[in-house]
Symmetry: C2
Subunit: 252 residues, 2 copies
DNA sequence: CTAAGTAATTGGCATAGTCCCACTAACGAG
DNA sequence: CTCGTTAGTGGGACTATGCCAATTACTTAG
């Protein structure tokens, strides 16, 4: 069953490094989107083959590092992201790594976890995965309704926590929207992630004085006053605000 | 030379997971201390044996994950920390992981990087490493004067950057001091890490209203007015301030 | 054509933490 | 006692925010 050759020596001093039995190395990706004012995460169903661990359960998209194909860990994460969503250049950030002897029944394993933000209109759930084994789940609290495979519930929890804390002082939510959006749409996105309301005036002045957006000539019409459309100035990395939302001097 | 059995199949659909050749898995630890108003990092010299990569160069303390001894990644990091410094319960936090095909000449490798803050009085450079192959180096900018092995210069750079950014809005520097310290000593520690001065008044009111410290009866005497000594209230995890230092409304 | 309805956007004021700077307090040395 | 030094406090100016209300720009019902 073992793919590695277990010939670790017990000699502590003159141990040859390559004698160590190697842990399994995987990459998992937590893919977030906001759809209909709800924060959602993309999950895939594990094969029902009983020879696989956690057959039929939902899990984060991921898999083994393929040292022949993946130049580095991030490339591996991007590959898995593209395989599932077809998205090419999303926001992608490393969350951390988790490794221990018990998380995978196949042996000591370490997973490198990334999290990604995608705009809902950019995602086409791809060919390979038919609709029944790849699905969006709404985040409730910091979990989803389903029981997840492996330790993915805690990975998800960590990802939600990191997302929420970064949203407090960055422009991250803009990566969850299409290229052009209104300030109100952006605010609703913040609110969907943070699960609380923000002050309209403070939100607007903050975003507009930070010089992260620029207005486009068109406006978004509807049954009422049309809203100014904006675009992100640099759509690669988020802007860091000097202080988090809702931490005014006037607030104890 | 290979410890793993390279029998990866080229078949993309029915690939057996355990057929993947496994990357090397290591853990590295960036150990920080402030000594004499300078931020320093602990490095070890690699063996001069030419069969090892980067012989004789300085590197971050670290090594292969030992799946027989290490319950999880953090335990592995703690083990390496204890082996080098004798410190038992320091501040330890994961920084992230780096993995690619080129960073280690022995093959595709991934390292899990932790960073740790230790109080200088708690450290005794231990037995195993004699003074010539374990040493503190002063951080200059975000590097040290020496050329480091592997990609450790960029790992160090990332660690310094993370430390600096967290110091802006947490009580982390308190973990670099002995149990009892004065507010001025704490402020000097902040300043040593950030490499800039902070406002005395703002610093004091911030720390004291945050309820992270408590005064101890003794005071620290000297040739001038004695200073109040304080201790950390919870010495396990740092306090998060509502906003970073130096981001007053009165500052554009 | 007008009034009502709705969402976008702006105005105005009190608040409270920071910055800046100066002042007072406590101690040893000479 | 005076001087030098460090600890610690006082007070005013500044400004992003919270809060609330007013104004603007539309569509649609009547």
């Amino acid at each position: 069953m073992k793919a590695t050759t277990p010939r670790k020596s017990g000699d502590k001093q003159a141990r040859e490094p390559l004698d160590f039995e190697r842990p399994l190395s995987t990459v998992d990706v937590v893919i977030f989107a906001v759809r209909g004012s709800a924060l959602q995460v993309l999950l895939v169903r594990r094969p029902s083959d009983v020879s696989d661990p956690y057959p039929g359960l939902w899990a984060l998209p991921g898999g083994f590092v393929d040292i022949a194909r993946d130049r580095d860990l991030e490339a591996c994460a991007l590959r898995k992201l593209r395989e599932k969503t077809g998205v090419d250049a999303p926001y992608l950030e490393q969350l951390g790594s988790w490794g221990d002897s018990a998380r995978d029944p196949r042996g000591w394993s370490a997973t490198h976890v990334y999290f990604s933000l995608v705009a809902p209109d950019a995602v086409g759930l791809t060919a390979g995965g038919n609709a029944t084994d790849t699905r969006w789940f709404t985040i409730e609290g910091d979990l989803v309704e389903e029981t997840l495979a492996f330790d993915h519930a805690s990975l998800l929890k960590a990802a939600v926590s990191r997302l929420r804390s970064k949203v407090e002082y960055t422009s991250l939510p803009a990566f969850l929207l299409p290229q052009e959006f209104t300030l109100t749409e952006l605010q609703r996105t913040y609110e969907a992630i943070l699960d609380r309301t923000l002050e309209k005036k403070a939100f607007r002045t903050r975003l507009l004085t930070a010089d992260v957006l620029y207005p486009v000539p068109r406006r978004k019409g509807g049954a009422n006053r049309p809203a100014q459309l904006y675009r992100l100035r640099r759509r690669r990395q988020p802007h860091l605000f000097a202080r988090p939302f809702g931490s005014a001097p006037g607030v104890s």
